[in-house]
Symmetry: C2
Subunit: 214 residues, 2 copies
């Protein structure tokens, strides 16, 4: 599968690219700056330029699936959160619809289920993530929404805990590496289409955890 | 009609309350602070407390229609725009759905049709307004979305220009008083249900301007 990763140079994107390549896929690393191209290549991806506030559509050429893991980050104001995390996501979703790219995995956040939760300082972020998720969910795309709890840079374990319902309690921190692996597994597992999956650190093999019980 | 005005003490809300009362309706002025109650009463409204980041649902009791004209304004950061203009609006829409309050008028903004337009500094605001509008439009409510261009405090003229399509060109500034009158007319005109109406200063009587040609 040609998988375009939007935000390929972010914390999860960097873990995701080599895992996609190892699984036999062809990752496309979409970044804002050519200076990041070498790093994308080193991680097994084909680098392409894309600017979520400008032109990014050409970076989606030939993609069979898109993973959205871009975010304006903590060093910019909430205006950038509106423009990147929310509007950028909506633009990518619309571009997928226009181009017939059906498969989409969104990296969201645990509290997107309840944006007025605590800590209060994070609420605007959760509003933006939730609104992007809802737009995706209401679209005609084959979407999987992943909502990890707090992220760490620990080594991946290949094991997580997952929940298909929101209970407000959350769970342990999760390594970005395991979120990246969960994206690969989600893309390869059709039962995850239409699901919103909360991810925590845990002891279940990822391929079992992300599969909803029927 | 009992009309709950969310943001009753804002620029458009203050123009709207007496016009609703003059037209024979019963306006409910929803504000955050009891110190604003007298002013709401002077404008012909029944004051009620409501906090868009907390509890506001009881302020909707007995309402037949809701007008959303709340906004965090220009003195707070974009985080408040996410919490009030976007998430607050979504919460009010959800509360209307739960309570069977079918009629909803949203005060939006001209550039919500094209959030990446100019000036660049306003883009996050237009993203928030657009996302709230889209959530309303996709809901089961009988909604009218009004998208005025730049607002002034000039006296109302009773005349505007309106457009049912976005052409990117916009039109002249419009007094808040005329937007208030357009809300009253929209509430009384079932043909405006399901419409997104761009409003500018102009020469057409409001009751003619907001009626789509069939």
């Amino acid at each position: 599968m040609h998988v375009a990763v939007i935000g390929a140079n972010g914390g999860i994107g960097r873990e995701l690219l080599p895992r996609l390549a190892d699984a036999g896929h062809d990752p496309i690393g979409v970044v804002r700056d050519e200076s990041q191209f070498d790093e994308i290549r080193e991680r097994g991806g084909e680098p392409r330029l894309g600017d979520l506030e400008g032109e990014f559509e050409s970076a989606l050429e030939d993609a069979d699936a898109v993973v959205f893991t871009a975010g304006s980050g903590g060093d910019t104001d909430w205006g950038k959160t509106l423009l990147i995390d929310l509007w950028g996501a909506r633009r990518v979703i619309d571009a997928c619809l226009e181009r017939g790219i059906d498969r989409f995995v969104m990296i969201s956040a645990y509290r997107a289920s309840e944006p007025l939760g605590d800590p209060e300082a994070m609420r605007p972020y959760w509003v933006a993530k939730r609104c992007a998720d809802d737009f995706l969910e209401a679209s005609a795309l084959d979407a999987t929404i992943l909502r990890p709890t707090a992220l760490t840079d620990d080594e991946g374990t290949g094991r997580v805990s997952a929940s298909f319902e929101y209970d407000g309690e959350g769970g342990g921190d999760i390594p970005r590496a395991d979120v990246g692996q969960a994206v690969v597994t989600a893309l390869e597992t059709d039962e995850t289409i239409g699901e919103t999956i909360r991810l925590f650190g845990g002891d279940t093999a990822i391929e079992d955890a992300v599969r909803p019980e029927r």
